[in-house]
Symmetry: C2
Subunit: 304 residues, 2 copies
């Protein structure tokens, strides 16, 4: 059975572990801080790989950014990574094969192979965190597109309210349905809003209200917070309707930090009441915090 | 080489021809009016099939409606077809294999195999007619979804202007980017609009302005018509941006009646300026009026 060295490269942390081709961990994941300098980052990669190289069959990276079609390089800009990150040729880091995959794609693959979507050949994983990411499985294969950049569902335009996204484009789904989207909705909603004036947050400036405040406000039964959350939920639902109508998937798996605040049953009902395809199941992710590593390892094992 | 009897079932016309597995026509397509009664329709199917049955390997239908996953039945309601259409078991119409595919999916397959997207393993065909249809090729395979209903891109929500679609849902892309969408935009735009008051259509009631009027108005350089068409174009572009970001396709092929009024180069430029994936090519369909028959025949030949 193949042994894969899996490395998850985040803006803050870098985690690695050995994984077998069934997705089981052979070692406990080890974390280090992600170096802020490109040379140090490369050195860190080399050190980890050197340590395991003789013992493994291949290396798999899960990382932010758009990956090229041969899974050897990051092609897009990655604001949270050191400058020059997209100049690294991952294939050259080891004598053995190296595979790089976008972390949202890898997480979707993990949900499909060992997580909440196991056995479902048409499934989508949507990551609701600071941003919105997506990984799409179609006919049992990962949708990568012509250049490897497919699945950019956060950039889908779902509204015409004119909100400016962090990517500077207008009305991206991400700018509404992410954790940050909830904060923007809180600010927007507070302006000229009677409910806000009687809210527990009435003394805050609208732009200072946080995602956490709204989550907390819901628990306190604050009417304004409930109103904001409902608007956010409707924006989330709209995007889920769109991908359901296009993909007719068996399931949509919700991962990421915002997942714990939604009622999947309620969302599933709302989505299915508005789609023209057969009903979709909406479930929370099950492959865990290391789904990116697992997915990348399994995809690498499949390729090599 | 396989010989396929291909039958295109439209609300008005029913066309059939023999096609080989390379997509070449072996006979001239023959048209009859589509019977308005389900028994007569079945009889027509039987007559056509009886005529060719000994001479062919299989039969392929292209039709409106959602098709079941085994390609033997229409599963959705089909308002333009006789009542009972979705009770027909197509597999039982012939002693030889019968294959049924949605006409938009079939057209996309034809564009991929013998048309404008030949050789492009990730391509989308968008049909702009009275409605908006779509067929998606991912990794060289037709996206059908769990139930065969995938590709319902016309039901994607792209705006929040509150327009009611013919499906009674709100803000479907189809209600904006179709031929009928252009008419609705004309009506909406005319209300309280100075440009309309000096337009060549100023004496018409807004709701009486037709799609054709706007197309004609553009040729006459009528400012109001140009304004309406620009709004329509932006609504079209928004949906194309969404599917480009999700699928990262090599090409989007535009088919259907509205295709002849758009400048694909202009649309391509606008789409690519707003996407986060590698640039997509936007081209007009090339497989012709009978692309549904060709696509269904080729898909059937591949299955059997």
């Amino acid at each position: 059975m193949k042994k894969i060295l899996a490395i998850d490269v985040g803006g803050t942390k870098l985690v690695h572990a050995l994984i077998n081709e069934q997705g089981d961990f052979l070692t406990t994941p080890e974390k280090v801080l992600t170096p802020k300098n490109i040379e140090e980052l490369k050195k860190t990669f080399e050190n980890i790989i050197n340590k395991y190289e003789n013992d493994i069959d291949l290396t798999a990276f899960a990382t932010a950014g758009a990956i090229n079609i041969t899974n050897t390089k990051v092609e897009s800009s990655t604001p949270n990574m050191p400058d020059g990150y997209n100049s690294i040729d991952f294939a050259k880091l080891s004598k053995k094969p190296v595979y790089v995959e976008n972390d949202a794609n890898a997480a979707a693959w993990a949900e499909y192979k060992v997580g909440a979507a196991k056995g479902e050949d048409n499934t989508i994983t949507v990551t609701l965190g600071t941003g919105v990411g997506g990984g799409f499985i179609v006919n049992g294969k990962l949708l990568r597109g012509k250049s490897g950049r497919g699945g950019e569902v956060g950039s889908m335009k779902t509204a015409t309210r004119g909100r400016i996204c962090t990517c500077r484009r207008k009305d991206c789904w991400e700018s509404y349905a992410s954790g940050s989207g909830l904060k923007f909705t809180a600010e927007e909603t507070a302006i000229n809003c009677e409910t806000f004036k009687s809210s527990i947050y009435k003394d805050k400036r609208p732009k200072d209200i946080t995602t956490y405040d709204i989550i907390n406000g819901i628990k306190m039964n604050d009417e304004y917070s409930l109103k904001v959350f409902n608007i956010w939920k409707n924006d989330l639902i709209k995007g889920l309707i769109n991908i359901t109508n296009i993909f007719d998937p068996e399931s949509i798996i919700i991962s990421g930090g915002m997942g714990e605040f939604i009622d999947t049953e309620e969302i599933e009902k709302a989505v299915n009441s508005e789609t023209v395809v057969a009903p979709v199941k909406i479930k929370l992710a099950k492959a865990g915090n290391y789904s990116g590593m697992i997915g990348a390892a399994l995809l690498a094992a499949e390729k090599y």
